[in-house]
Symmetry: C2
Subunit: 262 residues, 2 copies
């Protein structure tokens, strides 16, 4: 049964998140339902299962999510994407690419790098065009100070202070490879990459850096929050709206799957 | 009565257009209703009237529309914007700035330059995140050929071939100052500026240039379409979704009100 690697864009707004849940529509369910309709000859009782590089929360978007699926049907590169797109409508999900990979590929377990972008709109007026797509902070934020403080978090650390209570990771120790803060017009962009992240880690880091941007915290406060290994020591969780899963990278990838787009 | 200059962003999706119409909600009506609620002491029977630099069609967005309004109430710079934003919710309209100007200022009649951006998404998969914000063309377009052909339209011409039947302008002769086509990732952006445009002129120029991008038309075909002075000689009207009113400039503006943002 061929295995397909999928590249997926979605608007997280109408979903309970990537993962299938009983309390509402998920991206995973929408795509699995479409894939099941594509393969009616599948042994009965054997559901189609998608595995993704990241299980984004409710309201979190993706510009370049990677997932894989095994299907009892041979389709040339790109054709599965077209077929899924036709079936998944009108859900705001777009499969940008599909290609056959070996069984050694696993979207979640063989992923070596995940990238996220977080967009903060810093102006007095709420967003009209980007509602639900940015975190609206109606104050000025000092992006340079945020970038400076962010470097306290880069490296190999115990990230317990930035970990959601529900996080199921075995260990709070992770290596954060990059955390960059830049100003882009009236937005502040936080870009980050790591092999993996704890639950809510990006949103908790952003919520903490926003305190620095407002001048309430210093880089030293961020260091102390990290050292405390206590969620209560760090800043609040930034809302889901501004978060985008940008890209996932795998050992054999020649060029990083770099989906900027914003 | 002080006159206020407003800078406005809106999502054109839910509106019948800028202009007040009987068949649905308009941006003008939403803002006029908000302004009337702000000034209850107004002489009765005297409605508040907003005048805009451009009367965008249904579905057309704005990142930097300029309008003016006379109100019997003194408010410091920015305060009118805050008050209108509080009252206009939940409509996707954001007043980005408000400042007192002299009565010599008229958003429509003293405007010396208008700028538009048109976004075309050129990929196989429909947009998930930018639905209603781009024209989706599921084919590759040659942006360089489009830019080359676009130069045929720059200058002082009779634009009858690119004018909607309902256009109320006195003359079809206009001076197009710039029409630039660039590739930005998987999008093609068409940027244009002129003192004024005919009804549907930008969308008709974009629809025509798309024929060039697909290789169906050459720059020479565009020149002949212009020379024909006949709407039937040019390409189709591109959809409203991809069009953004970017900025309006006035004689006293020190710095062009350049709202790129995309």
């Amino acid at each position: 049964m061929p295995r397909y690697r999928l590249l997926i864009e979605y608007d997280g707004g109408p979903f309970v998140g990537w993962q299938r849940q009983s309390n509402g529509p998920s991206v995973q369910q929408a795509l699995e339902d479409a894939a099941e309709r594509l393969t009616p000859s599948r042994p009965s009782g054997q559901p189609v299962r998608l595995h993704a590089a990241g299980r984004t929360d409710a309201g979190v978007h993706a510009l370049g999510m990677v997932a894989h699926v095994d299907l009892p049907r041979d389709m040339p590169d790109g054709k599965l994407a077209d077929a899924l797109n036709a079936l998944v409508r009108p859900a705001p999900i777009a499969v940008l690419d599909s290609r056959v990979v070996t069984d050694a590929f696993h979207a979640r377990f063989t992923c070596v790098e995940r990238r996220y972008l977080y967009r903060i709109l810093t102006r007095r007026a709420a967003p009209a065009l980007d509602r639900g797509r940015v975190w609206w902070v109606p104050r000025d934020l000092d992006a340079q100070a945020m970038h400076h403080a962010a470097q306290e978090l880069v490296g190999h650390h115990d990230f317990s202070s930035f970990r959601a209570a529900e996080c199921q990771a075995d260990s709070p120790v992770k290596t954060l490879d990059a955390l960059d803060v830049t100003r882009v017009g009236d937005e502040v962009h936080v870009s980050t990459r790591a092999r993996s992240f704890l639950h809510h880690q990006v949103r908790n880091m952003v919520g903490t850096l926003a305190l620095v941007g407002e001048g309430k915290w210093t880089a030293r406060d961020v260091r102390h929050a990290l050292q405390a290994r206590d969620r209560a020591a760090a800043g609040p969780t930034a809302p889901a709206d501004g978060l985008y899963f940008l890209a996932a990278r795998y050992p054999d990838d020649q060029i990083p799957n770099d989906q900027m787009g914003v």
